[in-house]
């Protein structure tokens, strides 16, 4: 079947794909999106069911290698950290926690300030209007005025979520210590908003939100894009981006659930498949003219993968905190030690997020810090842990390293026969020193809050939520894949709008910044639509 080329073909219906799809559809573009996963009915999510903790370890595991669903692709891991993602409309937002911090001004100037890594070609101030708009579009709850950020006259659209008994104890401790803390900004509704229901504190955010309170683009963006004429094709696994004789992207070849191959023509192609999926696709799209992969004249496609090495510090308290409840997007955060202090023996820093601790199955078989206890003392262990804990999650800034990279496997393929990505990753010395320092400080925090004991996971394996950097942006085509507007230097009608574009990782959860950058790219596509080079 021959179809007219869409104005824009988006590959991936997750966070950034949803933002670009909605904005371009609203601006009158014809939009097609290919998504390898499917729509989900939130009534099916396990969070409100008795077997939630069982499902969370398989069907709703954050690692595609554990889930092994047909729409997942396997990832060959040469890494102490497992990359995490989800295929479906809404993408990895379906399983993310919902924490919504913005990157900070210094994060865009790492080379200038700390003499390491690189500066971004864009600044915090340039992103500010897009941060504000995406906060409104996704529905962000938070308390305005956080002095860890420059003053912003615009408040978040919704009041903050509760910080819980654990958050209050730690907030009091930080007041005594003179350390920063703030109620976390979450893309989780604290009140009805835009036709969605508020959070009910079930704490099952990473298994899909039964209430629809946690933002994901299947709720917040795609219905609006489709209402404006966008066409979203699910079960569509893209094999490669095609190019024409002029070197322009002409569309994508994809495979449906029955194994039939299709071609979707387009005037502009936008990759929004996360920093592993997008790098994989660019590498898969090589040909005689692009032997190293598409848009890869710099040789940087797939390189500089960053995943935020993550440590967990758990404090246990005598008094019950009911800490199995509360948004799993964080209760409170601390940026006290976020900015560089070279006296610590490393540069950059880490963000802390205080999170709930899970139910009894997780208490008996902890997925984070902690031990298994069997025999008669098992009951004492569960009683002392369940609902008595508070977890500081520590996100360390991951400096770019070309040795940390995505390549194509020559032996492992997905269910469509397409080469799987291989992830080669090691944690750098700077990040190790950073995590060690922050573990000590987080321990002090929890002890000050009254914890009687501390349990530490110094590098959590299943923590690669934040996939960044494999197609970095920059002004120089020799040292970057994308320009400052997320367009590939090599192919003028090919864009990458996911976290691949990140120059450095910052030390904060990146989704807020990813979607702000994606919206900025979409606005630029609209402004320059009449200058856009397209296939003839």
């Amino acid at each position: 079947m021959t179809t007219e080329p869409a104005d824009v073909l988006i590959i991936g219906a997750g966070a950034s794909g949803g933002v670009v799809g909605r904005r371009l559809a609203e601006a009158g573009f014809s939009v097609v999106c290919l998504e390898q996963g499917d729509w989900h009915d939130r009534a099916d999510y396990p969070g409100d069911k008795l077997d939630w903790e069982l499902k969370a370890r398989k069907d709703w595991a954050t690692s595609p290698n554990i889930r092994g669903l047909p729409e997942d692709y396997p990832i060959v891991e040469h890494s102490p950290v497992s990359p995490l993602m989800y295929s479906g409309v809404g993408g990895s937002m379906l399983i993310f926690a919902g924490a919504w911090p913005r990157m900070l001004p210094s994060d865009f100037r790492v080379r200038s300030l700390d003499g390491i890594a690189d500066d971004w070609p864009i600044s915090y101030d340039e992103l500010l209007p897009y941060f504000r708009q995406t906060d409104r579009d996704f529905g962000v709850s938070g308390l305005a005025g956080d002095p860890a950020y420059p003053p912003d006259p615009e408040d978040p659209p919704l009041p903050p979520l509760p910080i819980g008994a654990a958050g209050l104890k730690v907030a009091r401790a930080h007041t005594r210590l003179g350390w920063h803390w703030w109620p976390e900004f979450n893309s989780i509704l604290s009140a009805p908003y835009d036709g969605r229901r508020p959070c009910v504190q079930r704490s099952t955010c990473q298994s899909g939100c039964n209430e629809g309170a946690k933002a994901s683009t299947d709720l917040t963006h795609w219905p609006k894009a489709i209402a404006k004429g966008a066409r979203l094709v699910t079960g569509a696994r893209v094999r490669r981006v095609e190019t024409d004789a002029q070197g322009l992207a002409s569309g994508a070849t994809w495979i449906d659930r029955d194994g039939a191959e299709h071609f979707e023509p387009a005037k502009v192609v936008v990759l929004a498949a996360n920093a592993i999926g997008t790098a994989r696709l660019l590498l898969l799209s090589g040909d005689a003219r692009h032997p190293e992969g598409l848009a890869n004249s710099s040789g940087l496609v797939g390189k500089r993968l960053m995943m935020h090495p993550f440590a967990n510090v758990a404090g246990l308290f005598d008094e019950p905190l009911m800490s199995w409840q509360g948004q799993f997007g964080d209760l409170i955060e601390s940026l006290e030690f976020y900015e560089t202090d070279e006296r610590r023996g490393f540069v950059r820093g880490a963000r802390w997020g205080l999170a709930p601790t899970g139910g009894p199955i997780n208490t008996a078989l902890p997925s984070r810090a902690g031990t298994q206890v069997w025999g008669p003392d098992h009951h004492l262990h569960v009683r002392s842990h369940l609902g008595h804990g508070a977890n500081w999650g520590l996100f360390a800034e991951d400096l770019p390293d070309e040795a940390n990279r995505v390549t194509l496997s020559d032996s492992v393929a997905d269910s469509s026969g397409i080469a799987a990505p291989e992830v080669h990753y090691r944690m750098g010395d700077n990040a190790r020193k950073m995590l060690d320092f922050h573990i000590e400080r987080a321990t002090e925090s929890l002890l000050e809050a009254g914890a009687h004991s501390i349990e530490v996971d110094r590098l959590m394996r299943y923590s690669g939520w934040h996939l960044l950097g494999t197609a970095r942006m920059g002004d120089d085509p020799a040292t970057s894949v994308l320009d400052r507007w997320n367009r590939t230097h090599d192919v003028p009608n090919l864009y990458v709008v996911d976290g691949s574009s990140f120059v450095t990782s910052s030390g904060v959860n990146p989704t807020s910044t990813i979607v702000a950058i994606a919206l900025r790219a979409a606005e630029h596509m609209i402004e320059t639509r009449f200058e856009q080079q397209v296939p003839t």
Partner: protein, 185 residues
């Protein structure tokens, strides 16, 4: 409830023979015995609970049965040691089936004071206790935390607000901010 919900009916005898049942009961007694006012897993994790877990997680069946196979002997401690050393995935499945069956039991949940992941209505219109206690004001009083790229050090802003009330009630900024019912469109 949906079609994906597991039922609790079903006959685990179709996949567990007498040896497997006996072995599982011995392991259950060893790992979670009756103590401290709580029942033993051997008493709690009956056929219905096993069926519940394995219907929810059919992927566990094969490694679960592998962990109970006769070749590993009759001594539960030796079996657990062998599994831990040589077959951690099978041990993990055995433990998860056991724990999953135990902690989804109503009596056990009552015993540990765990009602399940409940839906709790938010009262977002109420002033949070940390504001009333002045904890936010304490943060604001310490000044800016962010590092100004222009100077490389913590930012200093003349005239920045020192209390939350001062910021919230600032007539100058209220028209631009506040939770004013925008619909997000």
């Amino acid at each position: 409830m949906t079609g994906r919900d597991p039922g609790v009916s079903g006959d685990p005898m179709t996949f567990m023979d007498d040896h497997a049942r006996t072995t599982f009961a011995a392991i259950a007694e060893r790992l979670i015995p009756a103590a401290h006012g709580m029942p033993s897993a051997a008493d709690v994790v009956n056929e219905a609970r096993l069926a519940f877990v394995l219907r929810s997680r059919p992927d566990l069946l094969e490694p679960f049965l592998a962990a109970l196979r006769p070749e590993l002997g009759d001594d539960p401690d030796a079996r657990l040691a062998t599994l831990g050393r040589d077959e951690p995935a099978n041990l993990g499945a055995l433990q998860l089936v056991l724990v999953g069956g135990y902690y989804t039991d109503k009596r056990v949940k009552q015993g540990i004071g765990y009602p399940g992941q409940e839906a709790i209505e938010l009262r977002s219109w109420e002033v949070p206790p940390y504001l009333e206690e002045g904890l936010i004001d304490a943060v604001l009083a310490r000044g800016q935390v962010w590092r100004d790229p222009a100077t490389g050090v913590r930012a200093v802003i003349d005239g920045s607000t020192k209390t939350y009330a001062e910021r919230y009630w600032s007539a100058e900024r209220r028209p631009e901010g506040g939770n004013d019912g925008r619909d997000g469109s």
